[in-house]
Symmetry: C2
């Protein structure tokens, strides 16, 4: 566990620090992040672990949550706002999808209370696009959108890269439509479970600033039709031209992100403003490089800040009436 300074809150503190008002949790498939906040959203403490939904289904969602709250010395009656896979059907309590088009405020209005507990725990819902020809779902990223500044005024596209990259079209605070691209998961499956593993040698997706990345990106973006053939050229290049595992990984990253950007073309062209890239760390750098290479205008918002701010807005709106009016 990585623990921030706030994990010493359990000791008496003789300072002017404000008391915790709520805790917020981003509970993904494989990760758990909790922040303790005061009434204006200042972070008082933080906990991170790999106890995502997959582990929590075995060890229990409540047990995991209470252990982390206890470690931060949180009061027994501190309310908790959660987003992510904890609200999936196979999670803790299902927070049913709300349908698109949906205003960002509807996410807050449809928070579900975990029943039968002393503590007030709410889980934010995901979004469903119930179009039989183009069905799609989001769970977790909607809270990043809620925490992204300016979206209640803007008309444009957001790109949230990851295992399942999401492209979202937002119009004055309303999520009109979205598309999921399996970019990150395709990288993992192709590099781990196909013949390409010989060429890649367990490299990850973050091979930046490589000519192979840019070449593959442009090629897949301009000619996505030959994708499943282009994949095999990675194997052939390794056999015939002895390309390195770094180059092979960069090429595969480029192909997959290029395919994603080709498929998201109408999101890019439909917006009057630069694409909002909501990402952190290496993925943010990789997608920024892709946008620059393809000459697509964009601005970047840190994904972790966004999800924390989205959770804070939801918590403030529900448990702190005065704050809600100023932040949504």
């Amino acid at each position: 566990l990585i623990e921030a300074a706030g994990n010493r809150l359990s000791k008496p503190v003789g300072s002017t620090r404000s008391p915790p008002a709520f805790a917020v949790v981003d509970w993904g498939t494989t990760s758990f992040r909790l922040w303790l906040m005061d009434s204006v959203g200042t972070v008082l403490g933080e906990r991170r672990s790999d106890e995502g939904m997959t582990k929590a289904r075995n060890s229990g969602f409540q047990t995991i949550l209470e252990t982390h709250l206890c470690a931060l010395g949180a009061p027994d009656d501190l309310p908790v706002m959660i987003c992510g896979m904890a609200g999936a059907r196979q999670g803790w309590i299902e927070a049913r999808y709300i349908d698109t088009p949906a205003h960002l405020e509807e996410i807050i209005a449809n928070a579900v209370t975990v029943p039968g507990l002393e503590r007030d725990i709410r889980i934010l819902p995901g979004l469903a696009q119930r179009d039989p020809a183009n069905p799609d779902v989001i769970r977790g990223e909607e809270t990043q959108l809620l925490g992204t500044p300016g979206l209640h005024r803007a008309t444009g596209a957001c790109c949230l890269p990851g295992t399942h990259s999401k492209w979202v079209s937002v119009e004055a605070g309303t999520i009109r439509r979205f598309s999921t691209f399996m970019t990150g998961e395709l990288f993992a499956a192709l590099s781990g479970a196909t013949i390409l593993r010989h060429a890649l040698a367990q490299k990850d997706m973050s091979q930046e600033n490589s000519p192979a990345f840019k070449r593959a990106l442009i090629s897949a973006h301009n000619e996505p039709t030959v994708f499943s053939h282009s994949l095999f050229t990675i194997r052939a290049r390794s056999l015939l031209f002895e390309s390195t595992p770094d180059d092979a990984a960069a090429f595969l990253s480029g192909l997959l992100i290029g395919m994603e950007m080709a498929g998201a073309r109408d999101y890019v062209s439909g917006g009057s403003q630069p694409v909002t890239l909501i990402a952190s760390g290496r993925l943010a750098r990789l997608y920024a490089l892709a946008f620059r290479t393809l000459a697509i205008a964009f601005t970047t918002i840190d994904a972790e800040t966004a999800v924390r701010d989205g959770l804070r807005k939801a918590a403030g709106a529900i448990w702190n009436r005065t704050e809600s009016e100023t932040t949504i």
Copy 2:
């Protein structure tokens, strides 16, 4: 082991049957098929097993081959012609790729002899396309092409579906160029190693005559750009519309084959004759349905007959001079 009638050859037979002239072997990554033939190519005996290259690297190529020859009562000096992964760098003896463009006869001319053995054993080479912008390799399918009737006169495209589907452009017996599509392996990786496994529930690729197959096929063929998003709709459809695993598998098959056919479009349009589909069993039926659905003219050749005939031609050309002149 599946053994044909010929596996009783080891017992004395008082018939007029001609003596074996050679054995031929299609030695793939995960499969081994051997046929005992007389000098005109009549099949006298057959052996099949799962002792492909992967297993043979552990138990030994020679041991496996001799065990099967012995079971058929083959003489110690019977020559053997092999194609497939036994000739890969990581196989028995490397039969180095010959470069495109290559005439079908060059495959025979470049057969490699396994050194240091009493028995005369030859391995046919694969083909390499050493184009840095579009590198590709074939190993095994070249022998199916060698055994496909009419290719020495024809100008057109061949489609050889499988784990790695091959599209090949042939001009009067010369292989001009080819492209590998990872269709079968993508199906396996996506249905086994990604979130789509929940929707597919271990179904295989042969879901024929399903509306979902045709719908996905046409959609991917017409709009291949959104491939990695279309994949995720399989998951979303299962969550939002409770599609069945059969439908999900049919949809994934359709998407992947549609992508392949979109990527192979210039092979189809470049030929003056129908596409030659070289395939067997369920894969042959699935691709035939795809061709009919997309209104692409085609004729079918059985893949197993083709590889056996290709091996027979090579064996006849090397060990049976009179036969070679009539069959190539």
